[in-house]
């Protein structure tokens, strides 16, 4: 879950992180009112669940309330990347002396949290790390012991930060790490963390990504604004993992690994998959709605059903699919390969209901599905010419 800036800032402010004074506006006049109340120059920032807003023109500095109103009018109703901008954050400009970078993320290779600190804030940290790796302190944290005060001080001391700021930054790191843990974060990044001319630390931006698997214990987070095509959103609502692709062979397979491999085989044999859809795990009992999803994509010209059951029972999937075929009566050719748990019964179900003989090998099924899609496309073009 990508938590939008304003929501992330509210969460970290509750946890003790200083943020600029400001508020959310959903209209240009509201933006004027907030800027007027804040006083002085403000930042008007589009709220979308994505990074790189600055480069996309989603962050505008405004010197007075009238400018803020104009900026908000321009941003509201526009779109940034794939998101519509329906609210902006209007907040005070900090009196910045220096910008720092601080983040806690997960190092999946090491299997633990990773604290990152740099005195080169405000920039793309990956670029900083690539060009001047010694400018980024990267310190693994023992999740059982947590981040210790001495450890935080050591990290800060290793930077070229002004000594007077060491204690406040070390204390900031402890707060940040606590928030990372409290919100089940995959990433909590403050970039920039401003050092003001009066020597205070203020979080000018906040990027918080919360683990979807922990949503059950994070009542203050979400719901997330979902991205994706209409079909992907519909699938998500039904609890399916579906990715729409630009090919013409619809894919129904069980399990993430087998489904990806099926897509790879389609491509290797010269075809093009229309979707990723996993009917594995507990979803194997829901083949009927899964089939309906695959068929809803108008680009699908043939269907490949590739099952290799382990935990998932192929006979249960086959029953669900046949129920779907009987209800939806799709006018498209289907190619099957069914092996693994329940395969004899599954193959018989397909033979009896559809009169189709499943292929012995996955490659043969893949090649037939590609040929079927090509034939269907050629047929459509032929009909087009006749008209």
């Amino acid at each position: 879950m990508f938590v939008e800036e304003h929501d992330a800032k509210q969460l970290i402010a509750t946890g003790g992180v200083p943020i600029p004074q400001g508020a959310i506006a959903v209209s240009a006049d509201q933006a004027y009112g907030i800027a007027d109340e804040v006083g002085g120059p403000v930042m008007v920032k589009a709220q979308v669940p994505s990074g790189k807003r600055g480069k996309g023109g989603g962050i505008v500095k405004s010197d007075n309330p009238a400018d803020a109103r104009e900026a908000a009018a321009r941003l509201l109703g526009s779109s940034l990347g794939q998101f519509a901008v329906d609210r902006v954050l209007v907040e005070a400009c900090a009196d910045i002396a220096h910008e720092l970078y601080v983040a806690v993320t997960i190092d999946s290779a090491a299997g633990g949290p990773l604290l990152m600190v740099s005195t080169q804030g405000g920039m793309d940290i990956e670029e900083v790390h690539a060009t001047t790796p010694d400018q980024v302190q990267m310190v693994p944290v023992d999740i059982r012991a947590g981040l210790g005060a001495g450890e935080a001080m050591d990290i800060v001391t290793a930077t070229d930060l002004d000594p007077s700021l060491r204690a406040p930054l070390a204390s900031f790191l402890l707060t940040l790490y606590g928030l990372f843990r409290r919100y089940d974060a995959q990433l909590l990044e403050i970039n920039p963390l401003a050092v003001t001319k009066t020597g205070e630390l203020v979080a000018l931006d906040a990027k918080l990504v919360v683990d979807d698997n922990a949503a059950f214990r994070q009542p203050d987070v979400g719901p997330e604004r979902h991205t994706g095509t209409a079909l992907e959103l519909e699938a998500k609502e039904q609890g399916f993992l579906y990715v729409e692709l630009d090919g013409d062979v619809g894919v129904l397979a069980n399990g993430a690994g087998l489904t990806m491999s099926t897509m790879d085989a389609i491509t290797a044999h010269g075809g093009s998959p229309a979707n990723f859809l996993e009917v594995g795990g507990m979803a194997y009992k829901r083949a009927t709605p899964a089939l309906a999803l695959v068929l809803k994509n108008p680009n699908v010209k043939s269907l490949l059903v590739n099952l290799c059951g382990a935990y998932a029972r192929t006979d249960v999937i086959a029953e669900g699919l046949i129920a779907g075929f009987e209800a939806l009566k799709p006018e498209m050719s289907v190619s099957f390969c069914i092996h693994g748990t329940g395969e004899e019964r599954a193959q018989q179900i397909v033979r009896d209901a559809l009169g189709i003989e499943p292929h012995e090998t996955m490659d043969a099924a893949v090649m037939e599905a590609i040929a079927m899609a090509a034939a269907a496309s050629a047929g459509e073009k032929g009909e087009g010419r006749r008209q």
Binding site: I106, S108, A109, G111, G112, P113, E126, D142, I143, R144, R181, D184, Q186, D211, D212, N213, A214, F216, R217, L241, V243, L245, A253, N254, G255, A256, G257, L258, T259, M260, S261, M263, D264, A265, T267, A268, H269, P273, F276, E278, G280, G281, C308, G309, A310, Y311, A312, H339, G340, T341, E343, T361, M362, D363
Partner: protein
């Protein structure tokens, strides 16, 4: 890791999945010595005594390995109970375990010199000996005693390759399912090290997928190995920024692509297949 036949504890044995798979494991020959469900101590499941706590089970039986059938949100506490009580290998099957919980389980396992396998994994199979988890170890279409070590993130891709191996007259020394999460306790590198030292294994099949850097880390070990490695990486056409079913299977910021993994493995001397059916062909040409 599991060199000799383990004495197995099933945590969550009284749930429907725990009971079903305990019955399957027992009938295949797995030594399930005890089960554990809080509040159900004193019952039996398929003849296996149930205890309230792992410590109670350990008082009554030697236990080498615990397999955890509890739902994702309770997996961490169950694993911690087993590891703290002294169980040296713990298999977590559940999908959707919070990643902070996985980091805690892994840290606890390391501190106790225990092995964590999973989460989000299908378990392990030793054809002809025993299996632990939710792979149909009894299926003679998928498994036959042999000398190929198979290690896979995914159960379904593992099933396909195992089917192809058995159809070609080959068999497995062991199948290890590592799991599809971004962080898993046992890595490809751990598995390669284990198979390299296993006298029952002649060659290894590594089945990876997009996301993370576990395959690249394994590649670093391959040049020092005496046994050949055949690899396949799923998700060669995975679009950037989309989770491909498994939480760990995502290409992001141009990293974790199948191409980079295939290149690293090939450069290290592995034989890399482009489609699953090539795996058997490559094994036959070793």
């Amino acid at each position: 890791m599991i060199s000799s036949k383990p004495q197995v504890l099933v945590q969550g044995i009284t749930g429907s999945e725990g009971t079903y798979w305990t019955e399957q494991m027992l009938s295949y020959g797995t030594t399930v010595v005890a089960g554990c469900t809080p509040g159900k101590g004193g019952q039996t499941v398929a003849g296996v005594p149930v205890y309230n706590t792992v410590a109670d089970a350990l008082d009554a039986h030697p236990i080498d390995l615990s397999v955890i059938f509890v739902p994702a949100r309770f997996a961490k506490d169950a694993a911690a109970e087993a590891i703290s009580a002294g169980v040296l290998t713990v298999i977590v099957l559940a999908e959707f375990v919070p990643v902070h919980d996985t980091m805690e389980m892994l840290a606890l396992a390391r501190a106790n010199a225990a092995n964590l396998i999973g989460p989000n994994c299908p378990g392990i199979v030793f054809p002809g000996r025993d299996f632990v988890g939710i792979m149909p170890g009894w299926s003679d279409r998928l498994f036959a005693p042999g000398r190929i070590g198979v290690v896979s993130r995914s159960g379904s891709l593992g099933a396909l390759i195992n089917l192809n191996l058995v159809s070609a007259g080959l068999g497995q020394s062991a199948f290890l399912g590592l799991g599809g999460d971004p962080i898993v306790g046992t890595t490809f590198r751990d598995a390669l090290e284990w198979f390299e030292s296993d006298p029952g294994t002649d060659a290894i099949v590594l089945l990876g997928e997009v996301g993370g850097s576990m395959e690249e880390a394994a590649a670093e070990f391959i040049p020092s190995m005496a046994k050949p490695v055949v690899a396949f990486i799923a998700g060669q056409n995975a679009p950037e920024g989309k989770k491909m079913g498994h939480a760990g299977a995502m290409v992001s910021g141009g990293k974790g692509t199948a191409a980079s993994k295939m290149q690293a493995l090939a450069a290290a001397g592995a034989h890399v297949a482009t489609v699953p059916s090539d795996v058997v062909a490559l094994l036959n040409h070793l």
